[in-house]
């Protein structure tokens, strides 16, 4: 399990949002995303309402806006695409600032941008306030099939192992007089990348065997009590319920 590197989005903290058990947060975020996606694109006010809800969550979790903004880079390809839509889109055209834009394209761009952005921000807030392994424990609690949880857990672990092995290999290379500067060095890197796969696997395999030999049976022992009180469920449920209210009222 992740050797404890917090190189993911997680931002340690101790707020209401952080303390909510993961098994409550996961369905809440999922529910929120569903409501957002199901909202007709004409309902501008509803989207504003959703944004306000998320802003509230961010404030409660003390996640600063710049942090969220920076993590939103994953959305970039879609932003580019969405911006192109009015230009390349078909359908009725309007002219704006000397450009002929597709009306339908504008609508589509707005639709994709606003829903994707709200979805991304919700996921960022979830990931920023929940340690990856806690999310997995939450998923385990939610009765996601254990095999999937286990694969996800090993995957996170291996990402750490690979990073760690990469670091070791880089140090080893450098301490023997090697610095990667130009393309001529690519073959060297490629040769050692071949070894990296096996090496990471075998390291991970040995660790896994060590876990087995300490009684590991496919799921992490729940040392910390992960049970959620009904109040916590209510609190988490606030996110999709508020969103639904917004949708219903507007």
């Amino acid at each position: 399990m992740g050797a404890g590197h917090h190189h993911h989005i997680y931002r340690p903290g101790d707020t209401v949002v952080h303390r909510l058990p993961p098994q409550c947060k996961l369905p809440a975020v999922l529910g929120f995303a569903v409501v957002v996606v199901a909202t007709p694109r004409e309902m501008f006010a509803a989207f504003a309402g959703y944004a306000l809800i998320l802003a509230g969550v961010a404030a409660a979790a003390r996640v600063p806006p710049w942090f969220v903004l920076r993590r939103m880079a994953v959305e970039l390809p879609f932003v580019v695409f969405a911006l192109a839509l009015p230009v390349i889109g078909l359908g009725e055209r309007v002219s704006f600032a000397g450009m002929s834009l597709s009306l339908e394209g504008l609508w589509a761009a707005w639709n994709i941008l606003v829903k994707a952005t709200l979805g991304v921000v919700a996921s960022i807030l979830l990931a920023a306030t929940t340690e990856p392994r806690m999310l997995l424990l939450g998923a385990q609690r939610l009765r996601v099939p254990p095999l999937l949880v286990q694969i996800a857990m090993f995957m996170l672990r291996y990402m750490d192992v690979i990073l760690d092995e990469m670091r070791r290999m880089r140090i080893a290379r450098e301490s023997r007089g090697f610095t990667a500067r130009d393309v001529r060095h690519i073959p060297v890197i490629a040769r050692s990348a071949g070894a990296l796969f096996i090496r990471s696997y075998e390291r991970g395999e040995r660790v896994h065997l060590a876990m087995l030999s300490r009684g590991y049976g496919g799921s992490m022992p729940m040392i910390s009590d992960l049970s959620a009180s009904w109040r916590q469920w209510m609190l988490a449920g606030l996110l999709p319920v508020l969103a639904l209210l917004v949708l219903g009222v507007l």
Binding site: I9, L26, V29, A33, V34, V35, V36, V37, A38, P40, R41, V74, E75, P77, F78, V80, F81, A84, L85, I88, G89, L90, G91, S102, E104, A108, N111, I112, V114, K115, A116, G119, V120, A122, S123, L126, A127, R143, P145, P146, L147, L148, Q150, I151, A152, F154, M155, R157, Y158, M159, I162, G194, F197, I198, S200, Y201, E202, G204, E205, G218
Partner: protein, 342 residues
Amino acid sequence: MHVPDGFFNAVVSVSAGAVAAAGVAVCLRGARRELDDRTAPMAGLVAAFVFAVQMLNFPVAAGTSGHLMGGALAAVLVGPYTAVLCVAVVLAVQGFFFADGGLTALGVNITIMGIVTAVVGWAVFRLIARFAGGSRGGLAAAAFAGALVSVPAAALVFTLLFWIGGNAPIAVADVALAMGGVHLLIGIGEGLITALTVSTVLAVRPDLVFGARGLKRSLVLRGADGATEQVPAQAPRQAAPGRPGRFVLGGIAVTALLAGIVSFYASSSPDGLERVAQDTGFGVVATDHQLVGQPLADYGEAGGIPVGVAGLIGVAVTLAVGGGLFFAVRRRAGETRESVGA
């Protein structure tokens, strides 16, 4: 090609969600035959590798990002069922932990990048491996071909879904061209990486390549007096390479399910039919301005129920069906695990 929230209309998202849930449930069952306590970490590593491979992202004109997929590689290394699970896990983790790919589009993403690539990649791999023989070169070549074909196939399915319920007013032909073209190129890269990885692993840990299982060696025993004796190795607890036919059949069934659901919706929408008619003449579409896909508008009201509510009901149904499947499988899995006792 991670699809964000809101890219496809609710109908496609929900249908693909159902397909993905069914596919994952089928694979959970199938994976029990492929996985033992040794290969679980292998599945994790493959998932990590797929994750890394998918980080090499570049935008594609047709609206999503293009990147390597890793589905075929996963199928060759850990078997097709487990491969689907690996990719599904990667996509879920990307969605939940890294905000990459929409949560409501998870079904679409798993269907395209998991089920399609693994089914196509594995089928092509087996086909060629049978002709090429079990040599290291033959397996690598088969892996290359499988990966090469799997990526454009995924692009094709993406285009199909887009045609049915994409939320963007672009001609399907343009999407097909852009996606197909770029992904053909990506496919070549994917093929090379897959072949290289498979042959590296074959060289040092042949036991780790699912597609090459069944090798056995003999052991030497040495007595106290120095006398030696050859004995056959006890069979390791491993699944046989399995019946690929079954997996492909399962894949085809899931695909048929997809086609069924999707065509049901498509045909229930008059617009969809019209589009079929129009799209058969590609050149016309580019200039045709009133036949713009307005998917959301089309579903703005379904039998008097606002789309939001309709969507919610659809999602609820999907979750119920998918959840039911998961539970059924979990129960079974639990039983067998106990009977094995490990």
